[in-house]
């Protein structure tokens, strides 16, 4: 996983709440390997109309936002299905419509999506609804303007107005993101404890292990 430190990039506003992972990537596209180019299907049925033509009103199709790597949405972003392809579609640098997202800002996230995002180096930033609305408004008024997200300092700064907000992040998540850590190798350092626990379950609750 690519370490995350600071991202300074165009921010794109998405004035939608409850954006479920089916809308981020419809199930009919979930047939490829992880690196199969999910970015091309990102927000597919929002980006394209029934005839396959780009929907001019959808922000990701507007020329000003073509290089956007920061997405600012409304509440409950990424609710629904656990499909990690939703995150892969957002982060895909090669086939994603804007060259991949590094940060999503929203008042709240679906729990599973949030976990998947961190596992893939996509930073979910939680700010209150009014602040998210304010940022979206600013990005709409100044299309193509940049947003600076500093994970170490836990701040997000708007280029156009200079306003800055701080955000909370779980210390373990921050550590993993900053260092691009693979949690499997971290966990395997606890192999002794894991084996001891398994031995205890095998001895005292043998029914937990199917024959």
């Amino acid at each position: 996983m690519k370490p995350f430190s600071t991202v300074e990039a165009v921010g794109v506003p998405l004035n939608l709440s409850d954006v479920d992972t089916d809308r981020i990537i419809p199930a009919r596209f979930l047939r490829k390997p992880a690196d199969g180019g999910y970015g091309q299907f990102l927000f597919h049925d929002l980006r394209f109309d029934g005839a396959g033509e780009p929907n001019a009103n959808f922000p990701l199709n507007r020329p000003e936002y073509q290089q956007a790597h920061v997405l600012v949405a409304d509440t409950n972003f990424g609710c629904g299905s656990s499909r990690e392809q939703a995150v892969w579609a957002l982060t895909d640098e090669d086939t994603g419509p804007t060259g991949g997202f590094r940060v999503v800002v929203a008042p709240s996230f679906g729990d599973i999506f949030r976990g998947n995002a961190i596992k893939n180096g996509l930073l979910p930033v939680i700010l209150d609804a009014a602040t998210c609305a304010r940022i979206r408004q600013e990005l709409e008024a100044n299309p193509g303007s940049k947003v600076r997200v500093d994970l170490s300092a836990q701040t997000i700064t708007l280029d156009s107005s200079g306003e800055s907000y701080s955000f909370d992040v779980d210390s373990f998540d921050k550590h993993c993101l900053l260092n691009g850590l693979d949690t499997i190798s971290l966990t395997l350092e606890w192999d002794g404890e894991i084996s001891a626990y398994e031995a205890d379950v095998n001895a005292n609750q043998p029914w937990m292990v199917p024959d």
Binding site: D18, S81, E84, D111, G115, T187, P206, P210
Partner: protein, 406 residues
Amino acid sequence: VVGIRNKEVQRVVTDLEKNARETGVRLFDIADPQQGIVHVAGPELGLTLPGCTLVCGDSHTSTHGAFGALAFGIGASEVAHVLATQTLWQRRPRTMRIVLRGEPPEGVTSKDIVLSLIAKIGAAGASGYVVEYAGPLVSRMSMEERMTVCNMTIEGGGRAGMVAPDEEAFAYLEGRRYAPSGDDWKRAVETWRTLGSDPDAEFDMEHILQGDELAPTVTWGTSPEDAVPVTGTVPDPAVQEDPGRRARWIAAMDYMGLSPGMRMSDLDVDRVFIGSCTNGRIEDLRHAAAVVKGHKVRVPALVVPGSTAVKQQAEAEGLDRVFVEAGFEWRASGCSMCLGVNGDIAQRGERCASTSNRNFQGRQGPGARTHLMSPAMAAAAAVAGKLIDFRNLAAPDAVARGENPT
């Protein structure tokens, strides 16, 4: 696998088989009579046990909490982590208790209860929480009913929903293929009896739902929280105080082809789907068949059992004949139209009465309009060609003459 025409889909299936074989993981593959949707087959096989921590790469893993397991959905990276280490990193979640009480009117099912509950707490109402369902109404539920409730926990934002294991759960599990037996069974049950929350346990949040006031429930919009009684109407966004939600309602009405004040029971349907990990179990098919018996469907309608075992049980009871004689398609088990896979979709603009769990935009196909409801309600919609309180459905000969009460 040979029959799978799409090369990409075939690769998904063959890779799974190959990987499972190479790593010594027992796979219940497509041809296995024990296969099914994991949230149906897991409990059937007795693999889902009280007190276990159970994860799958699917958000409806919350279903297994019906047995007092801590069960939740994870993404592919976390699945890899579990396979490599048998562990997951977790933060202690906040706790929520939802007390269900009262006596619901005849014909109100666990699906109606959970849809009403999500309408009350909102689609993100349980976000960050693990939910315990408690109260007299839960104690009286069958395991199938509890699974439907726990299954939909994620639609209220909660990753896991659970019920304290009791005699009903033990009776369901005893004798199942992978459930413990003999002395192990006795010891296991003894342990499981200690798992319930303490009587004085404190929760970070508590909700109460009174069953007496509920009715068969349907969704009008594009979020599971958009649920109203079938006797109700499409709400007016003008009364919605939250601006974000008001905007979502307006967009949902546009997508669904509805306007404020329309009566739910006036809506014609184009297609019906009965199945899914929410409502694809044998009790669900029995409820639907009881409504369908003697009628004919007016729209294309599909029944997809949740597992091969459910399918075989239904066939042993003759339910398949009830469905087929009424004009339903009777399919092999799977997820099917719940999420519009394998070509099982509703067409753009079509209204689908569905027993599944999500009415998201495009979930059942691009432009498809999903109305969630119970199996009995979906069955009635199929024979009436419209949304209808199944308790008011006329006799088959009257329905055939077009005499449907509204």
